[in-house]
Symmetry: C2
Subunit: 234 residues, 2 copies
């Protein structure tokens, strides 16, 4: 039986980390809010009383469970569908990497929303300009160097001899940062040849070819990763 995925229908956002794993794993799923009901269907579903309520989308309904939080969903998919190493050390390493990717994603979001999730960017632009400086100059290099170092030990994949869900997520993080901070990323990636190779290897996975070329793959825009030219520089 196909799994049901619930996520905001108009942005790649955090849902995309789950979609990439489902697609690359060849796992049947329905992306419910992208169907007829759209956003309203998702809002309605969030009101359904559940034993294990999600705090926020994305969440996956699978095997009688409602599983929220990207890293938890991927932990489940990794175990159930072989998208992560089977041994304890490898499983935990991939989970740890996923959480570090999640931290980077949260910081990338907060660059354009430093003082209020519910405010518009335009209402916190001055604060965003301040936050962007540190993110560009300190945080992006720190995260990229970290993943490069992990790949130096483990490459070409983050764990084991085939891709795991963390490789897919790291690809998506690089995609998002390339979109949001193209000048800075162009410069920072010069020091990260392994990461460039990983990004290309995921992009070229035969398992993802159909998905990445389809209209199921949503473009970046107004979600977590946003391109405001004033926040980027080399």
């Amino acid at each position: 039986m196909a799994y049901d995925l619930w996520y905001w229908p108009t942005i790649p956002g955090r849902g995309e980390f789950v979609r990439l794993a489902l697609e690359a794993g060849g796992i049947a799923y329905r992306d419910l809010a992208r169907g007829e009901g759209g956003m309203q269907a998702l809002s309605d579903d969030l009101q359904v009383p559940r034993e294990e309520p999600p705090f926020a989308p994305p969440y996956l309904i699978a095997d009688g469970m409602t599983i929220a939080q990207v890293a938890t969903i991927l932990l489940f998919l990794g175990d159930a569908h072989g998208l992560a190493p089977a041994d304890a050390k490898g499983r935990l390493w991939v989970n740890q990497l996923q959480l570090t990717i999640a931290d980077a994603v949260a910081e990338a979001h907060d660059v354009h929303h430093p003082v209020g999730i519910m405010l518009y960017y335009e209402d916190q632009k001055a604060e965003a300009l301040r936050r962007a400086t540190e993110f560009r100059e300190e945080r992006i290099p720190k995260y990229l160097r970290y993943f490069e170092r992990a790949l130096l030990h483990h490459g070409p994949w983050l764990a084991g001899d085939r891709w795991s869900y963390a490789d897919l997520s790291l690809f998506q993080l690089v995609e998002g940062l390339n979109f949001a901070f193209p000048q800075r990323m162009e410069r920072c990636l010069r020091d990260c040849p392994k990461l460039i190779d990983l990004h290309a290897a995921v992009r070229d996975l035969p398992e993802l070819a159909g998905y990445l070329a389809s209209d199921r793959r949503l473009p970046f825009g107004d979600g977590i990763f946003r391109h405001y030219p004033e926040l980027d520089e080399a």
Copy 2:
């Protein structure tokens, strides 16, 4: 053999979520940066080349693995020491809750550091005042209502018929928010009787009595949860 925990020695911070699980689980560990070497020993250890390098403390050295990220460490401890339900549904639910707690912790930190992790609070006070408003008025109630709802389904514990690591972490989140935003929390907790009960139940666990009364239990101060009176109001 005792596990080795590495974390900044002077603040409870994220390390405390791990310490609580180790202590309540009766698991032998050495808190290495709180020994003779202190901060320098931690800085040195972070430079050690490792197959699975941590991005940041806390990290636990256990069974030949280096495990970083609080939720990953707790996933390991939960499985290895029975600090979480044994069935898939319960394990994933507890992991999901832990990640939602982690999100709340990160937001609580960013209230006093909205534009720069590496800047002083005093250099981003104006921005902090803006961010605190939304955190107090929207985010604290949203998180507390969520956990209250989870406890209504599951109580008195978040999962199963005994405490799990997520209960310990939720206790610590409430402790931290009570410290940082005492006026706001006093008001918000009026609507959360189950959460008040859970907080008291963890505080009174016989397994934690020795630890909570010891000087191993660090007070809040200059870490993630900070009390700046100007950021709090009812």
